[in-house]
Amino acid sequence: MGKLLVDAVRCKGHGICALIAPRLIDLDDWGFPVLLASPDYDPEQSKLAKRAVAACPEQALRLVTEVGP
């Protein structure tokens, strides 16, 4: 459950997240993530999202349940 967020300053464009969760994350021409969708309530995608978050070497990816302004 939740919404993916990329910390654009931390992200160094490793691209691992897109390999793990290709339906949620695409890469731009320079290898930086473009969010396609949020896992929301899809349990399969939620699992992948969590795995992508854990795999990011820069800890630049977060999964949050609520975003403020």
């Binding site: 910390d7 654009a8 300053v9 731009d28 021409d29 320079w30 290898g31 930086f32 403020g68 302004p69």
Partner: protein, 457 residues
């Protein structure tokens, strides 16, 4: 037009006293320069008189009235419908409520950066009417129970700095009972005017936008921070004195109050900052104040990271924020740039994108790699040879920029490019077929600052 008027009257709250002659003189259309008849936030002495002193300011407007407790002030601001004049147009009362709800020991920041190179409205206001801006900051402070105000400006804004320093001193000498006021001087960089960049600077001396929006929300050293644009503060000072309905009446039913605009690009010499309100259109502004009698090639709306509009489509467009929004447009920081028929919109856009790319804070991938590529692509289109495929690729690339940086700098640049490709579609077609046009040699209409190389501290 009379429709706008009656709409507004029906909003009048019976509990709020309205001075009759204020009502009688309220404008369906407001278009005025500094010190001209009909002006509101620009009312007072003419620009040649320079800064309005504290004595003159109080003579003209009287002291700030006591408005009661913080909750009451926030209600007044809410009734006024005031939206921030820094670019995003966020309702001021909502921001105040959020800050107030956090308790603690809040502080107020006046964003006087005005980092848009061609914009002058904030600097004009700070230089000529510093006490209006400072009064507004006092009202903002009272609305959230803050005991400190920081006025943040870019180091190069000389006349604004001189006036603000003078004004703060005058107030100290007059022993006004009000929050402590300090001026902060930051580096003159484009993205350094963004709110989280200012919070970062005030906390750590680094004027790059903060990546973590939670940190920005947490404020300076954990103190809830209410940050408003300098013009927004000026309006607060008048709302406090004349009431929320007086303010509303200068706007439309969907966009409260008057707004400052700066003319840029192909403008005649003379004043460039004007106050507009009601149903004034782009065409009226350009006829009256830029000496045009027919639509220009295009208008650049909202800033250097703004949007292009075909001059003929823009001509009858009211400047009211709600009516711009209805067409997907925005007044942004109030910049209205004129592109003459002799100029090449593609070449102008290429130069603007080059500037925006050079002003990246270099923190985020999309901004570091993406912006220079967009600028290059636009340059190739304007000055070199490109295929239809190249243009499609450029457009496709630009579409991946939305909401990905720590700040909205890349978004703005990408939108500028997309609007250029749409508004100058004929030129794009011609450039693809025959290469660059001879208009490209036309001197730049929109001047971009040479990269200052200024750091972020």
């Amino acid at each position: 037009m009379s429709g706008v008027h009656t709409d507004l009257l029906s909003l009048t709250n019976p509990q709020t006293p309205v001075v009759p002659d204020e009502l009688a003189s309220n404008p369906d259309q407001l278009l005025a320069g500094v010190g001209e008849a009909g002006s509101r936030i620009l009312a007072g002495p003419k620009a040649v008189a320079g800064m309005e002193s504290l004595v003159d300011h109080l003579d003209r407007l009287g002291p700030l009235p006591g408005l009661g407790d913080a909750a009451h002030i926030r209600r007044v601001v809410e009734e006024s419908g005031l939206q921030g004049r820094g670019g995003a147009g966020f309702p001021a009362a909502v921001k105040m409520r959020t800050v107030a709800a956090r308790g603690g020991s809040p502080l107020v920041v006046v964003n006087g950066s005005e980092s848009e190179p061609a914009s002058h409205k904030d600097r004009t206001l700070m230089a000529l009417r510093p006490h209006l801006v400072l009064d507004g900051a006092v009202v903002a402070a009272e609305a959230v129970n803050a005991d400190q105000v920081i006025i943040h400006v870019h180091r190069e804004s000389r006349s604004a700095i001189t006036s603000l320093k003078n004004a703060v001193q005058e107030r100290r000498r007059a022993r006004l009972t009000e929050p402590r006021m300090d001026i902060s001087y930051g580096p003159s960089r484009y993205v350094a005017g963004e709110s989280s960049a200012i919070i970062h600077f005030l906390e750590d001396g680094d004027a790059r936008p903060l990546t973590d929006r939670r940190a920005a929300r947490a404020g300076i050293h954990g103190r809830p921070t209410l940050l408003h644009n300098a013009e927004t503060m000026g309006h607060l000072a008048l709302i406090a004195r004349r009431g929320p309905w007086w303010f509303r009446l200068a706007g439309t039913s969907g966009a409260a109050g008057s707004t400052l605009v700066t003319l840029a690009g192909a403008t005649p010499p003379g004043p460039r900052v004007f106050e507009v309100g009601g149903a004034v259109t782009v065409g009226q502004l350009l006829t009256d104040r830029a000496g045009l009698d027919a639509p220009p090639r295009a208008v650049l709306l909202g800033g250097y990271a703004g949007r292009w509009v075909d001059g003929r489509d823009a001509w009858d467009q009211p400047l009211a924020r709600d009516q711009l929004l209805a067409r997907g447009l925005s007044l942004g920081c109030g910049l209205l740039g004129i592109l003459p028929w002799e100029a090449c919109g593609l070449a102008e856009t290429a130069r603007l994108l080059g500037y925006l790319a050079s002003e990246s804070a270099g923190q985020c991938g999309p901004c570091i790699f993406g912006l220079p590529r967009l600028a290059e692509g636009m340059s190739e289109l304007a000055f070199g040879r490109v295929s239809r495929r190249d243009v499609r690729q450029l457009l496709r690339r630009s579409a991946t920029f939305a909401d990905r940086g720590a700040c909205h700098h890349p978004d703005g640049a990408a939108l500028l490019l997309q609007y250029a490709l749409a508004v100058f579609a004929d030129d794009v077609e011609r450039h693809i077929r025959r290469g660059p046009c001879d208009r490209k040699s036309h001197l730049p209409t929109f001047r971009v600052p040479t990269p200052s190389g200024a750091g972020w501290r």
